[in-house]
Amino acid sequence: MLEIMEGSHAVAKSVGLCRPGVIAAYPITPQTHIVEALADMVADCSIDAEYITVESEFSALSACLGASAAGSRVYSATTSQGLALMFEVCFNCAGMRFPVVMSIVNRAMGAPLSIWNDQQDSISLRDSGWLQLYAEDNQEAADLHYIAYRVAEDHRVLLPAFVCFDGFILSHTYEPVDMLTRKQAESYLPPFKPYHRLDAADPISFGLFAAPDYYMEFRYAIDQAMKQARSIIPEAGTEFSEMFGRDYSGLTEAYRIDDADCAIVAMGSICGTVKDAIDEMRNAGKKVGLLKLRAFRPFPEKEVQKALAGVSTVAVLDKNISLGSKGAVALEIRDALYGSQITVLDYIIALGGRDVRKKDIATVVASAEAGVGDLFYGLREEVLK
């Protein structure tokens, strides 16, 4: 049934339906509405979870790690500065293969302090071993949580997962969202079955130190699990589509790309604007399409190659910047298309919440067609003076 809901509430409700045994989170804008809503559900006994009101994000994720080790499904949510504070624990969760699921309500990194949206926070955890899924709208943000748990907890994967969605643009926006019923959620996501757990009846040790003769194999195993997830995510997404009619069967999603000359590549809420802009450009006779990345980790290399095979120019919209290099998405796309004749141009865009409109997308496409790219889009020259 469709309900008009704030993005945060849609996510919180879905998380509740995923039935985590332990929730640990620390408030930070724009994530707060999620953890407040979950606290309400716990207070009303509408969900049966232990809610730990930790003293920091660092402890939030550490507590999730412990609870996951003890055998519970766990949940946390954060953004930006909070995620940065979790940095060390993020690598640990992945290294110990705990399937923690965490919402990242994407926000810029300070300094300067900004509470507004870009994707620098989750992108900066690119190499931590977490799956990274990005949502375009509130429906997708809500649904990806079920899929994230399914994939993370799959014993062929066993990796933690970020479900990323844009701060304010999605989190604080009301949209119609179709919520699963409790029964549907239970039929899609079974109870958590830990691969190993801390248990006095079967004592094992977690988190040993590895000398140089063992360390590399652990890293290799994580990388293999990531690559395995390239097929498990579509598997879980396809099953979701079959059960509930919303299509998450791909690591990527193409929009009007089949006969396109120029393709835009983007992640998150900006894809909605891009689709509208494409419709207008198409009406004006331009052959433009979009490749939306739903998964950034694992990176869908093959899908990208296939989807972009027919285009001559790719304009990547990066809501992040690897300072001193390029946007993280553009680097991946260039790598995936290495050896092809396709031109890949990077546009650093919408950092710190700067608005993007359809006309900006049209300008980007025009620049790409003129071969002008690898730039910060929309800089205010008067501020730089």
Binding site: S56, S62, L65, G66, A69, V89, A200, S205, F209
Partner: protein, 299 residues
């Protein structure tokens, strides 16, 4: 002894601790008291490193190590998970003094304030030993470490030991105690009491480190006893914030303790430093007064 056999099973032989390592003794005593239905959460440090080089482990109870500074946050999550599952295992967070006094204090404070049912045990060897004997907030006054070295214009560590038991008692911890590996029955009794007291409890175990303090490995117990006998370490219990039991001694001058350890050598060589020794004696005197440890002998 039967008890010792059981302890060896729970914290097994074959680990890589130095000969005479008090932390290894502490692990044995702790598990002997706590029993097999215990989950241990270790912080990064000597104990973790010497007991779990992959693919080996000395722990025959469920054990987890995550980071240097988060064992009490990890423990919080474990306690919450056990509660949710209706499981009854005891949870002990085990950390060195660096993990406990310094880098982990935020997580400990949070976990104690929230009142989770677990026991935090610090094995206090009074410096960061795993990284090569650097000072911590638990390093005693004037001890020479690699980051508080004695020198032409330094007498060693310039600050006295942080009073962590008082800080955790102030969080409302129902049971706080200090203990020493030199007195195993007392230590075990305290561990047993802590794990059976609901709420967050804290035990700080004096754990002399032959490598870091500079004494022969067979002297660990002797040094531990001297710390108590000089009043530089006091064994006590606090219940609901009040000191309820104290080990009393016929006190020896602090020199008896200091002269046995290379970390204090600079106070005696090349020249005896009466002024600094007097300051350390004053610390022992204050401890004696505060806790009333002196047994008065009749003249």
């Amino acid at each position: 002894m039967k008890g010792d056999e059981a302890a060896c099973v729970l914290f097994d032989a074959g680990h890589r601790a130095c000969g005479g390592c008090a932390a290894a003794m502490a692990a044995r005593f702790i598990l002997e008291a706590a029993g097999k239905d215990t989950i241990i959460v270790s912080s990064t440090g000597c104990m973790e490193v010497f007991s779990t080089p992959y693919p080996e482990t000395a722990w025959n109870v469920p054990w987890i190590h995550s980071l240097f500074e988060n064992n009490s946050a990890v423990a919080s999550g474990i306690v919450a998970s056990l509660k949710k599952q209706g499981r009854k295992e005891k949870v002990i967070a085990l950390g060195g003094d660096g993990a406990t006094f310094d880098i982990g204090i935020l997580c400990i404070s949070g976990a104690f304030e929230r009142g989770h049912d677990f026991t935090y045990i610090c094995y206090d060897n009074e410096a960061y030993m795993n990284t090569g004997i650097q000072r911590s907030g638990a390093t005693p006054y004037d001890a020479s470490t690699t980051t508080s070295p004695a020198g032409k214009c330094s007498y060693g560590n310039p600050r006295p030991k942080k009073d962590l038991p008082a800080i955790l008692a102030a969080h409302g911890a129902p049971y706080v105690a200090t203990a020493s590996i030199a007195y195993p029955p007392d230590l075990k009794k305290k561990v047993e009491k802590a794990v059976n007291t609901p709420g967050p409890c804290y035990i700080q175990i004096h754990a002399p480190c032959c490598t870091g303090w500079g004494f022969e490995s067979e002297k660990t117990i002797t040094i531990g006893k001297l710390a108590i006998e000089t009043g530089l370490w006091v064994n006590y219990e606090m219940e609901e914030g009040k000191v309820t039991r104290v080990k009393k001694v016929v006190r020896k001058p602090v020199e008896a303790y200091l002269t046995e350890q290379k970390r204090f050598r600079h106070l005696f060589k090349p020249k005896r430093n009466d002024a600094e020794i007097a300051k350390i004696q004053a610390i022992a005197d204050r401890n004696a007064e505060k806790f009333g440890i002196d047994i008065k002998l009749k003249a």
